[in-house]
């Protein structure tokens, strides 16, 4: 089974990298970009086909390692 974990900074946390990318897009003349925030994507392959079991494992993975919940939130998506 395949899943995707998306980790993003909480909205209250400043994202200087996102700001720099935003500035670069503006200087490239890409129109209409109001703001950019950078995050991380993890594509995870899981053994078995039980979605509930997989979700428990992925939540554990996020809380233990993939996200720092002081500054980040995560979202789990199944393919």
């Amino acid at each position: 089974m395949k899943a995707r974990v998306i980790v993003t900074l909480k909205s209250a946390v400043l994202d200087p990298q996102g700001k720099a990318i935003e500035g670069a897009l503006r200087s490239l003349g890409v129109n209409g970009v109001q703001s950019v925030r950078q995050g991380k994507v993890f594509d995870v392959e899981l053994a078995g086909n039980d979605r509930d079991v997989a979700e428990v494992a992925l939540k554990e993975a996020c809380d233990k390692l993939l996200a720092n919940t002081v500054i980040e939130t995560y979202r789990i998506e199944f393919a």
């Binding site: 400043l14 200087p16 720099a20 390692l65 993939l66 720092n68 002081v70 500054i71």
Partner: protein, 232 residues
């Protein structure tokens, strides 16, 4: 005094930390590999050195914080044992939950490698007894992710409990976070745990211990530790 300096894959300041402990504190530090499960018997100080553990992959210090040895470090800290995290070591302590908050990318996005002025916020801890309160000391920094941040409640608590160890200061001693090297809230350069036995700091006191190199303002920290552990 029996210090253990923990070595993670990608640490690169472990020998400087050990050298400072030898030269200034007269100790014989053990270098301990991260995959070990136990600290050498009698260890009374754990040092997490600077560097780029695991290449800063995922987040700085994130993977090192989950190493085997960290359970032993946690147990040592829980018993009141002293722990010092310098630079990447500070990042590891935050990621391991031994200190609150997190160090994020410098506000101006640049890696900053230069000398800074620190104000010693209190001189009554095992790490700072050789200084005086409000001393201004010169210590170098070298980091890309030293911007200390935490939620408002945590910052309020740190300030209320006097747990800020050092702040980035101007040469006249004033604190202005916009002048600091990395944008840290309230100019925070280092913080203590609740019981003041764990210290994490971004600057490198181990760099400034010999007159041949330059200023020796870093000696105070190692002298303090030697004093505290001799008395214990």
């Amino acid at each position: 005094m029996k210090p253990a300096v923990i070595l993670f894959p990608g640490s690169n300041r472990e020998r400087d930390a050990a050298r400072a402990l030898r030269l200034v504190a007269g100790a014989k530090p053990n270098i301990v590999w991260h995959a070990e499960h136990e600290l050498p018997a009698g260890t009374d100080l754990v040092v997490l050195p600077g560097g780029f553990s695991y290449g800063d992959y995922l987040r700085c210090g994130a993977i090192a914080a989950r190493a085997n040895i960290m359970d032993a470090v946690r147990a040592h800290a829980a018993k009141g044992g002293l722990v010092l995290g310098i630079c990447n070591g500070f990042q590891i302590l935050c990621e391991a939950g031994l200190l609150p908050g997190v160090l994020v990318r410098n506000a101006r996005l640049r890696f900053v490698c230069r000398e800074v002025v620190l104000r010693v916020e209190r001189a009554d801890t095992a790490f700072t007894k050789a200084y005086r309160k409000a001393d201004l000391i010169r210590i170098p920094v070298a980091h890309g992710e030293g911007n200390y941040t935490a939620d408002e409640a945590t910052i309020t608590e740190l300030e209320k409990e006097g747990r800020v160890a050092f702040r980035y200061a101007r040469p006249d001693g004033q604190i202005d976070e916009t002048d600091g090297p990395n944008g840290s809230i309230n100019g925070i350069a280092g913080i203590y745990s609740e019981k003041f036995n764990v210290l994490g700091m971004m600057p490198h006191p181990e760099n400034y211990i010999e007159p041949e190199i330059g200023p020796t303002d870093g000696r105070g920290l190692f002298e303090s530790l030697a004093g505290a552990l001799k008395a214990a």
